[in-house]
């Protein structure tokens, strides 16, 4: 008892402190370094570097990291699969398809080069279509599972199928598109935390707040589902309902994040599994802890990406995969994974 509650308590303190520390550190570093005192005074003085560039980027990283991590934690439970992540149901491929469609056919992505950085013009068309694309694949799977009572395994396979359909469709469009457009589609798919402005951040925040409140409300139902559907039912839980609602919300949250920032892999896998292995698999702790850890992970990765080869920015999606995978394998070897 003592040891277990101490482990929980320690994890709580370590995770929150790391997040706060990473937040302060990432405000200070960048192409224009600041001391913590300077950061504070610039924040109070409405400094444009902080308020318009650094802070939105940091807040986006935190929100997107938290959202992807908590969606992953929930999906692994309701789909009964440790490999489930926000992207298992073809959400990212759907988003990429939507973005490619908007860029290639609607001309949303006319490239605009200034020196080394590339930006996509017409900022709203691409996220909107990316969001539509990811919702298509989610709604196909949810509808199928509603009318045919699909098992979690069948849902995952349906997700894999949707993913390859979207991938093929995207490649087809790219095959016939002009080089410039293909370049901007590829560029879009690299997850990048620097694309959002404050009003987009509010949208992500709103979605995140609604979803996490719901997930926390359902935490004991998720615990029951990890045993078996039958056991959950005998405890008064409705597995079908919990599963559908959870899938709907976690997919929706992921779709919103992806459409504003592009694709960031691995956070939804690494964060929840790290917590499961090193702290607890109890959803009462797993949900808040993975959320905080996911936020920290993405924030650190993004800060690393924008400082390590400064002034060149390395997209955060590349970093999460490079750093996340070895850490993940280490945890698997160390942990009691059976």
């Amino acid at each position: 008892m003592m040891e277990y509650s101490r482990r929980i308590r320690t994890a709580e303190i370590v995770l929150v402190t790391t997040l706060i520390f990473s937040f302060i550190a990432s405000l200070c570093v960048g192409s224009y370094s600041l001391t913590p005192q300077e950061v504070l005074s610039s924040l109070l003085n409405d400094s444009p570097i902080l308020w318009n560039i650094r802070l939105p980027r940091i807040v986006t990283s935190i929100l997107v990291g938290a959202s992807l991590a908590v969606s992953g934690a929930v999906m692994q439970c309701i789909l009964r699969n440790p490999l489930a992540s926000p992207f298992t149901l073809g959400i990212s491929q759907g988003a990429a398809f939507g973005a490619a469609f908007a860029i290639i056919f609607l001309g949303a992505g006319l490239l605009h080069r200034t020196g080394e950085s590339i930006t996509i013009l017409n900022p709203y068309l691409v996220p909107f279509f990316a969001f539509l694309g990811s919702l298509i694949s989610v709604s196909v799977i949810l509808t199928l599972s509603k009318i045919r009572d699909l098992s979690p395994e069948a849902m995952i396979l349906a997700g894999v199928a949707m993913a390859s359909v979207f991938q093929a469709a995207t490649m087809l469009m790219q095959y016939f598109a002009e080089d410039v457009m293909v370049a901007s589609v590829v560029f879009w798919t690299f997850g990048d935390m620097g694309r959002t402005n404050w009003s987009e951040i509010y949208i992500i925040f709103l979605a995140f707040a609604v979803c996490i409140a719901y997930f926390i409300f359902r935490r004991m139902d998720y615990n029951a589902l990890t045993l078996s559907d039958e056991t959950a039912m005998s405890l008064g839980v409705n597995p079908q309902r919990v599963r559908l609602e959870g899938l709907l919300l976690s997919s929706f949250l992921t779709a919103i994040c992806v459409s504003f920032t592009g694709i960031v892999g691995f956070v939804g896998l690494v964060a929840p599994h790290s917590i499961r292995i090193s702290v607890s698999g109890d959803y009462r702790y797993l949900i808040p802890f993975s959320t905080v850890f996911g936020a920290t992970l993405l924030l650190v990765a993004d800060t690393f990406g924008r400082t390590v080869l400064s002034p060149v920015l390395i997209p955060v999606g590349i970093i999460t995969a490079f750093v996340g995978a070895p850490v993940f394998i280490y945890l698997l070897l160390r942990g009691s994974w059976r």
């Binding site: 277990y4 409300f217 935490r219 004991m220 005998s234 009691s336």
Partner: protein, 248 residues
């Protein structure tokens, strides 16, 4: 306490037809029958997981009168298999309090979990993870989870499956103790006829979805076993107990 009246269930083909029986307070009933005879389906119907025709009355209320939550306060079900995972034993037993919870567990819930843990001597395992437990330990934890529900009726699906003799005896003694001390009706499926004869108050023999015979251990006769399982056995009586030996 619990009455099953004219219960029938079909998937595509009928699995159960016209099943009638009652269980009194503190009674231990074992359901015997070959694989595929409908034992597990019967438990699932009683547990409210499947929707059968006919009626299941629990303290004079039908399953339809009870909400899922209220049912879970009266009746606990331990399926044959549960997934393991990263939950601790304590977390799993706490799930037994789920039907009583509003937003989250209360101190009362924690108190009951600790009570059940000490009743089943699970103190040493309390903060181990499910995926680190042996088969016998896991079964005990699942029974503990069911007991935390404070049920009036306990349904068990092959509780001694895959356990060694020591664990089988331990689990069956525990089940009897719970039934007698807390006045819980226990309805359990079983494969081992000898063990069933040792721990049952009453035995139901099921064949092709119908009750073939019901009563004390005297129903475990040569003729009944031949009719239900299609196997020739010898039934030896020793000190008021029966021993069933498969013949040649």
């Amino acid at each position: 306490m619990i009455a099953v009246e004219n219960l029938s269930f079909s998937y595509k083909e009928p699995v159960l037809s016209g099943v009638n029986f009652e269980a009194k307070e503190g009674e231990v009933i074992f359901i015997l029958g070959p694989n595929g005879s409908g034992k597990t389906t019967l438990l699932r119907c009683i547990a409210g997981i499947l929707k059968p025709k006919g009626a299941v009355l629990i303290e004079n209320q039908t399953l339809n009168d009870l909400s899922k939550k209220d049912l879970a306060k009266k009746l606990a079900y331990v399926p044959q298999r549960s997934d393991t995972g990263f939950l601790t034993v304590f977390d799993v037993i706490l799930l037994g309090r789920k039907p009583y919870m509003g937003f989250g567990p209360t101190n009362e819930d924690y108190r009951i979990v600790e009570e059940v843990i000490s009743l089943l001597n699970l103190e040493k395992l309390a903060f181990r993870r499910l995926n680190e437990l042996s088969g016998g330990e896991l079964q005990k934890v699942m029974i503990a989870r069911a007991l935390a529900q404070k049920p009036r009726i306990l349904l068990l699906d092959e509780p001694t499956n895959n356990l060694d003799v020591k664990n089988q005896v331990e689990i069956l003694r525990l089940i009897r103790k719970i039934a007698k001390e807390s006045n819980v009706s226990v309805i359990s499926t079983m494969h081992d006829l000898n063990l069933a004869s040792l721990y049952a108050d009453r035995i139901l023999m099921i064949k092709n979805g119908k009750i073939f015979a019901s009563g004390g251990i005297e129903v475990l006769s040569r003729e009944n076993i031949k009719a239900v399982y299609g196997v020739d056995v010898e039934v030896v009586r020793m000190n008021g107990k029966v021993v069933i030996l498969p013949g040649d």
